[in-house]
């Protein structure tokens, strides 16, 4: 099989009598191979070999480096405060049970529910608020490709004629859907509010920042509203229709013109398809206001949910997560544990190798000398 790329014929060489007339004086020099290091395969080279002796230090060094790194990572991860609450409303006791039960696409009146919860510890620095979905296959092939990046980049032509990839969410009636595709169509549209129940009885709404949640490059380069800057989005999107499952058109996502249309950050966040079926997405940031008070003090809170997003049909779950962030991101003990274990394995192997090297290395050397 592999011989395939070779010319496999022994064809007639009709070149006259060249073959035998070779050994003349002139051809002698030309036939002599050049004596260069490369052609004689004698280029100077470093010739390392992996022996117990050479690898030993490496193992110890890796062990000694990885274990502290791992411990550091583990401690960091442990210091991160994370709170997670499921508000799907599967159980009867759940406050959102009614909303989940009575869900209909055409409901005009939004269903709301409040989920109380308690934070045991105060959250000191910036707190990041996520929503999490599970059993939601954002990484399904049909789903992942169901978008039109050039439409989202503000291309007028794609706005009018969405890509075929968006099917069956490309057109509704005769109007092109903007933004088209399954991803956009299924955008998460629950709205979440946090209320702090002050021990003195007052309810304080926690201020949530809705910007800075999407990648900077996405918001400023990859996603763009069609038309020139500062034009009225309503005009620009004339002739298109909103995605079927949306309650309002794309140009009414936010009142802030810098966060409206395709560059709405909630939308951008949703459009970055998650890698795994259980995922979380950044929803809001709770900025730290003062140096004296923690961002989220210890105490009772209420999560006010406008319940719009159905997940029960595919046995999905919805969660709200509050998390502080360190330099290594959210709470994830994996990296620390992995570092510690790889480090210890290396260290252990180093010890074993040391023994072997001591025992067999000498023997081999002795054998060689007698050899």
């Amino acid at each position: 099989m592999a011989s395939s790329y070779k010319d496999e014929d022994g064809h007639i060489t009709v070149s006259g009598s060249g073959a035998a007339a070779g050994a003349g004086g002139g051809s002698l020099r030309s036939k002599k191979p050049e004596n260069t290091a490369f052609k004689q395969q004698r280029l100077p080279a470093w010739q390392p070999i992996l022996t117990a002796g050479t690898v030993l230090p490496a193992f110890f060094i890796i062990g000694l480096m990885f274990i502290p790194i791992g411990i550091g990572l583990y401690v960091t991860s442990n210091n991160i405060k994370e709170f997670e609450i499921d508000y799907t409303g599967v159980e009867m006791s759940s406050p959102c049970f009614t909303c989940a039960q009575n869900f209909s696409w055409n409901g005009t009146k939004p269903c709301t529910c409040s989920v109380p919860f308690h934070l045991d510890q105060p959250y000191e620095s910036n707190v990041f608020m996520y929503y999490g979905l599970s059993n939601f296959y954002q990484n399904h092939r049909r789903y992942v490709k169901s978008r039109d990046d050039s439409q989202l980049n503000g291309n007028e032509e794609s706005l009018r004629k969405p890509s075929k990839e968006c099917e069956p969410y490309a057109k509704h009636g005769n109007k092109p859907i903007a933004p088209c595709g399954a991803i956009a169509n299924s955008m998460f549209n629950d709205s979440l509010e946090l209320i702090y129940n002050d021990p003195n009885g007052t309810k304080v709404q926690i201020p949530l920042t809705a910007t800075g949640i999407a990648w900077w490059t996405d918001k400023h380069v990859k996603f763009r509203n069609p038309g020139a800057e500062n034009t009225n989005l309503t005009v620009v999107f004339q002739g298109t229709t909103q995605p079927v499952n949306w309650r309002r058109p794309v140009f009414q996502l936010d009142s802030d013109p810098d966060n409206n249309g395709f560059i709405n950050e909630d939308f951008i966040v949703w459009m970055r398809t998650a890698a795994l079926p259980t995922f979380r997405k950044l929803y809001r940031i709770i900025q730290r206001r003062s140096n004296v008070h923690p961002t989220l003090p210890r105490g009772n809170y209420t999560l006010e949910v406008v319940y719009n997003y159905p997940v029960r049909s595919f046995e999905g779950r919805k969660r709200m997560i509050l998390s502080t962030i360190s330099w290594m991101g959210g709470k994830n003990p994996f990296l620390g544990i992995a570092y510690i274990s790889v480090g210890s394995v290396c260290f252990l192997l180093g010890v074993v190798l040391l023994i072997i090297h001591h025992k067999y290395g000498n023997r081999n050397n002795a054998a060689e000398i007698s050899h």
Partner: protein, 1137 residues
Amino acid sequence: MGMDFSTLRTLISRYCAGEENCVDTRTVYIGHKEPPPGAEAFIQQRFPDNRIISSKYTFWNFIPKNMFEQFRRVANFYFLIIFLVQLIIDTPTSPVTSGLPLFFVIIVTAIKQGYEDWLRHKADKAVNQCLVQVVQHGKLSRKHSRKLTVGDVVYVKEDESFPCDLILLSSSRDDGTCYVTTASLDGESSHKTYHAVQDTKAYKTEEEVNCIHATIDCEQPQPDLYKFRGNINIYMGNEPVSRSLASQNLLLRGATLKNTEYIYGVAIYTGMETKMALNYQSKSQKRSAVEKSMNAYLVVYLCILISKAVINTALKYVWQADPNRDEPWYNEKTESERQRHVLIRVFTDFLAFMVLFNYIIPVSMYVTVEMQKFLGSYFIMWDDEMFDKELGERAVVNTSDLNEELGQVEYVFTDKTGTLTENNMEFIECCVDGNVYVPHIICNGQVMPGAAGIDMIDTSPGPEAREREELFFRALCLCHTVQVKEEETVDGIKHGIHQGKSSSFYISSSPDEVALVEGMKRLGFTYLRLKEGQMEILNREDEIERFELLEVLTFDSVRRRMSVIVRSSTGELYLFCKGADSSIFPRVVSGKVEQIKARVERNAVEGLRTLCVAYRRLSPEQYEQVCHLLTRAKLEFQDQDKLVAEAYDLIERDLILLGATAVEDRLQEKAADTIESLHKAGMKVWVLTGDKMETAAATCYASKLFRRSTQILELTTKRTEEQSLHDVLFELSRTVLRHYGSMTRDASSGLSSEYIDYGLIIDGATLSAVMRPSQEDSNSGNYKEIFLEICRNCSAVLCCRMAPLQKAQIVKMIKSSKEHPITLAVGDGANDVSMILEAHVGIGIMGKEGRQAVRNSDYAIPKFKHLKKMLLVHGHYYYIRISELVQYFFYKNVCFIFPQFLYQFFCGFSQQPLYDTAYLTLYNISFTSLPILLYSLMEQHINIDILKKEPTLYRDIAKNSLLTWPIFIYWTVLGVYDAIVMFFGVYFLFNNTTFTSNGQMFGNWTFGTLVFTVLVFTVTFKLVLDTHYWTWINHFVIWGSLVFFVVFSLLWGGIIWPFLNYQRMYYVFMQMLSSGPAWLSIILLITASLLPDVVKKVFWRALWPTNTERIQAKRRCLASEPSTIFMLSQTSSRISF
């Protein structure tokens, strides 16, 4: 009357033989002249014109034919199918990913083949357009070569080559002979004599030639260069004459006219029917063991691929059974998808999975392997140590497909004469009636000036003996076919006759003859020339003696002798005969047979080539009879060869033995050293020769094939005459097996010092008896098995008295024995061609017996000693390199594709690719291809010098040891492990959390990119761990390709690419790198992936080191001290790139 007779005979002979081969003859009208009416009813045949077509394609059929041939290959076809599937159905990856590499390969191959074909077209055109001179209407006219037709009378001048196969009609020489070299046909550069048809040799001008009125009957073209039978009917004068034609009348296309002013000949075979064209048929393709393993692995991977696709398809439909999973509200299907039949959906899903995983069998592997072989073969050609100053030749690679096979050789079959020995004959001594004469020898066979040159060892002879002695010398001066070439130099054998005087040379196709004639010269009898049928000899008294040469009974390998009949100036008739002892002694009636026999045997034991000389005095009546016998035999059309042989047999008898000669054929330089190294490397060396047993055995001792300690087993005609073949075979096998049994016992008790090695000698006749398929009793079928069993336990085997075809038979027998060992045949002559073609690897030595072996070989080397470096160094390297290449390619693609397979479990079996299209396409093409290609060209796990010094290292790679199933499985398991580490490492990192410091989330493309980054680094570092030879090029390529990956990724994600309809990779790579945990996990995962391999390597090396590894370690110890060898190798390797 005569005419009737000849016509009748032709007719009869045609119809007698004609029953089976009626169309096997053709009739040629010389000069297109019809025969006289009523002569014979010939059927006019159509003959092709003289156009040579070596090209494969025409302008019109190039594209379809080339495409067809390329896609006929399984690999190409597979990739084409994948590509078509991608085009037709909705698949996860774009058709570009497989189409681009495939069409790149196809187009490059097509261009290469097209270019080669264009060159052939050009060469064809040059040949076909070349002008030749043809006699037309009594005048010479010029014609394009391609327009020549059968029957044209062609005029060829000296140093021109013949445009087609011609029957020689006449030449400028009076005797109607001409000299020809067939160097470009069979490589023999000696001048051969051809004879014109007796009746036409007088016609020497175009007018005269034009009057020739004759027809030729001859056989249809056949490829044997040396066989030709025909008959010419000449209708001139009153009675038509019929003459037989033989190969000595046939001038072959491609041969060149020499030493003759001009000739006239009639074209009988033209164009593609010439013997030359018929001889250059394509050779069968040889495939290397590595290639076979590669194909086996390929099948395994194809199975893995299919099972992966099947598993995924099945799981997909199990998983999708719930409609809310199949089609949740957020991810609906299009109408057309819904309406598709379920079977079609299953099938397309299966195909889509196939496409998704098809990278596991990479196109690029084929390209890389081809490139490795092609480029790697240059190192053989460039090797300075395989350059021979004397010949001015370097090693030649005729096929690069078998480079790695050079590292796998188990059996070496070598020719003796010209391969082990120099084929540079030197006259050593002669023995006349028991008196031994030795010419004075100074180095290089030059005679001491002034010395008459006889050194009597035994007593000086009496007058009667002196007479016999002179007769012996005369006999040797006369009984040969040596030609004297004056002045100019010729390729081939040249020796000065007169030192200083003029430069004349003896030329002969047999170097033995030249050595004998030269030896005679040194003993005082100088052969001067053959002039007008007279052979002239300068005797000791500086008188010229003339002998009329009457007949030459030429040498052939069946008779193993030749004779001449001469008439001396006094009118006496002599028959001188010289030949092998076995063919002379039975025909001798008197002479001192016993003494001579003893001397011959003694000489043979010393490794000298012996010939016996005998004579017979003929009375005129006897001579008449001889002439009659010969002419009758030569006239015969049908069984000429047989009749001639019978006639010779009748003539060469009742001989009187004169003496014997001994010629030494010196061993090639370092032949013994080479054979010793090959032995140490675990190869079994067989010598196959046509020589007689004693001579061959002596050479074997001299070349250390047999040592003094070797116990010789004989399987010769002599023994089988005494006992039956059956008994001999069983006895030998018992001896060998008993020893074998005791050896294993010794080995267990640790006493293997008393190791006897066996050598076997077998001759051609016994061998054919052994090989003969079972006929009489059921036992005989086992002979072959027993024989093989014996051979297996012998370190060296000598086969003497071999016919060329038998050589090939032996090779074939060993090749097809149950272990299927890899065989290598090395030889220099035309008689070795069959075995060179038969063996797995054929090596030609650029010897003196022409170029035929070289041309038919896979590799050609100037000297036998170069075989050592060829096998032990180049073969070893190529094998190590290509086996790593193959394993590594499969490994890196398992690492590449297995994560994709795992990802299917997390994306609902939706065929979502893990990596971006660009990564899928470029992974094998650019990110990971160059380092392994370079590795496979440059790797030297051990220095060249050590490989040469320690031939035993060759055993470490014997039996395809680096491509065995356990190793293959190890690599595959390693690949799967790495894939699992990479995938799940990243999975747990991504698992429902974030790892950025600004809380933002990453998507599926970041997931894939992270896996891919770890992947590229891991597989590259795996190669780093395997590389033992780091030149600056390695550093450049390995680090360069990693840098290229990073730069490419930055660029690919750094721009909104206007021509793409998706921007999924935009800033993904940069965002990923902006996160600390991503870096940490890359480092961690690479370490974790490489760890087991490092541990395995170190442990194995420490606990069960192979020889190679011991030597490597030793070298390390040495390297720390100032070792001369390495100092030298370092200084010699200054950077002179």
